[in-house]
């Protein structure tokens, strides 16, 4: 904990005074190295979980075989056969990723959630429709006024609210800094 405090105070001091900025840059790069090691924890854990699943023949153990096969094949192909690696990325990884993060579920949420129960929700729906039409080419074609209304909504009320929340998030981060520097961080982060 004291090491954490020392590093944090040093980085803040360096940021404001410019003293030892090169060393501060080195310290930040240590964080990058630690982040890389943290990735190992995940690989070890996922392997451990799936090995246990296979060993005990728990529900869905067949998918563990699929997971290990894909992991090994992808790992080997990335080093041994570059065109195969490119094929896996272009034709499997990217489309699958796009499918999972697609907007289908957004539609379900919109369908269920966008029910106007008061005058305020009607206003919100109106601004949603305006801003949605601003982001597509058909919006100005339907009515050129959409552009002005939607830009006004984006530039003034929405920006004001976002500014306020950005300030709140920044101060929230300071809360953590104060608690950590003073050794009062009682959550798990402080017990490390």
């Amino acid at each position: 904990m004291s090491l954490y405090i020392i590093v944090m105070v040093f980085l803040i001091f360096s940021a404001y005074t410019g003293v030892a900025s090169n060393f501060a840059a080195d310290v930040r790069s240590w964080g990058i190295a630690i982040a890389t090691f943290a990735a190992l924890i995940g690989v070890i854990n996922i392997s451990y979980l799936h090995i246990l699943k296979l060993y005990h023949r728990r529900k869905g153990w067949q998918y563990s075989i699929v997971m290990f096969t894909c992991f090994i094949v992808y790992f080997v192909v990335a080093y041994v056969y570059q065109p195969g690696y490119n094929w896996i990325i272009s034709n499997l990884s990217i489309p699958l990723g796009a499918a999972f993060l697609s907007g289908f579920n957004t539609l379900g949420v919109i369908f269920r959630g966008s029910r106007a129960r008061s005058i305020w929700s009607v206003l919100i729906l109106f601004s949603v429709i305006m801003t949605a039409l601003l982001s597509v080419s058909i919006g100005p074609v339907i009515w050129p006024g959409i552009v002005d209304i939607a830009r006004w909504i984006n530039d003034y009320p929405t920006t004001g609210v976002f500014r306020a929340v950005t300030i709140g998030i920044g101060i929230g981060l300071l809360m953590l800094v104060v608690r950590a520097i003073l050794g009062m961080e009682k959550s798990y982060l402080g017990e490390l």
């Binding site: 900025s21 090169n22 501060a24 840059a25 080195d26 930040r28 790069s29 964080g31 990058i32 982040a35 890389t36 990735a39 690696y85 490119n86 990325i89 272009s90 990884s93 990217i94 990723g97 796009a98 993060l101 907007g103 289908f104 539609l107 379900g108 919109i110 369908f111 269920r112 966008s114 029910r115 106007a116 729906l125 949603v128 429709i129 949605a132 039409l133 982001s135 597509v136 080419s137 058909i138 919006g139 100005p140 074609v141 984006n154 530039d155 929405t158 920006t159 609210v161 976002f162 500014r163 950005t166 998030i169």
Partner: protein
């Protein structure tokens, strides 16, 4: 009579209709005109007006190939035009493993193989650590990363002899997906122009920084990227998706209206 279906069936009908509607522009191209946004012109001018010999850092954080990454590719196309003319130099870094795959996939589109590696451009590869990585690169890239993506020490790359910190850069571009706060904190306000590529709904998030002059220009996927492609004269995926986007947004508005109508009719029935 008002239909009363299970939630998953209602969802499935909405999604199936969505697929049908999104497929319409593929069969019948609508040819809706694409406008060029003033912010697109500002971004274009920012890159065109960079002084000769300047180094551009492009930081990729996320891979959404069909949306955000197309914006990244289009911005890089404009930068690479000047790189090929030996006016600018490009350093690419990524903060996640996803964009590494994106660069590999976009290699031929960007024609990176035609450039002289190490002299005209460098690919630093993955610099893990999110905002920490950005801070480290801005302060001292040589301590953040000792080798490039291919394992070559930075000392053996001529371009990297000129790039040690953000003060050596002419422009920083970052591709995000949501919050503009981390790059604005680490790269912004240091006298170097900052271009952000971010999701459409983050425009209000970016506006405070744009008005403060921290973000010089931004690019959003979809319509703005389609306009940018039109400006560059190199039509790509964003242009081909522009019609489909228009149709699907109209469909989403219809879903909202239908949802409200059904909800109020069911309430009245009770």
């Amino acid at each position: 009579m008002v239909w009363k279906l299970k939630p998953e069936y209602e969802d499935s009908i909405v999604m199936l209709l969505f697929i049908v509607v999104a497929s319409v522009p593929m069969a019948i191209p609508l040819g809706i005109p694409v406008e060029i946004n003033p912010m697109t012109l500002k971004l274009y001018d920012t890159i065109e007006n960079l002084p000769d010999g300047g180094i551009v850092l492009y930081d990729l954080t996320i891979l959404n190939w069909f949306t955000n990454f197309q914006s990244d590719i289009t911005i890089m196309k404009q930068i690479l035009r000047r790189v090929k003319a030996n006016e600018l130099y490009l350093v690419i870094m990524t903060e996640g493993t996803g964009p590494i795959m994106g660069i590999d996939k976009a290699w031929n589109t960007l024609k990176l193989g035609e450039l002289e590696y190490g002299v005209q451009w460098v690919y630093l590869g993955l610099v893990p650590g999110a905002e920490n990585a950005e801070a480290a690169v801005a302060a001292d890239v040589w301590s953040a990363k000792e080798t490039d993506h291919y394992g070559t020490p930075l000392s053996e790359l001529p371009l990297m002899q000129r790039f040690h910190s953000i003060n050596d850069l002419a422009l920083v571009c970052t591709g995000m997906n949501t919050s503009p706060d981390p790059p604005c904190r680490q790269f912004g306000g240091k006298g170097i122009p900052l271009i952000l590529q971010n999701g459409i709904s983050t425009i209000p998030l970016m506006m405070p920084y744009v008005e403060a002059g921290i973000i010089t220009a931004y690019m959003t996927p979809g319509l703005q990227t389609a306009g940018y492609e039109k400006l560059l004269g190199e039509l790509g995926l964003a242009t081909s998706f522009a019609d489909a986007q228009s149709v699907t947004v109209l469909y989403a508005i219809l879903v909202m209206v239908a949802s409200n109508v059904m909800y109020h009719m069911r309430r009245r029935k009770r």
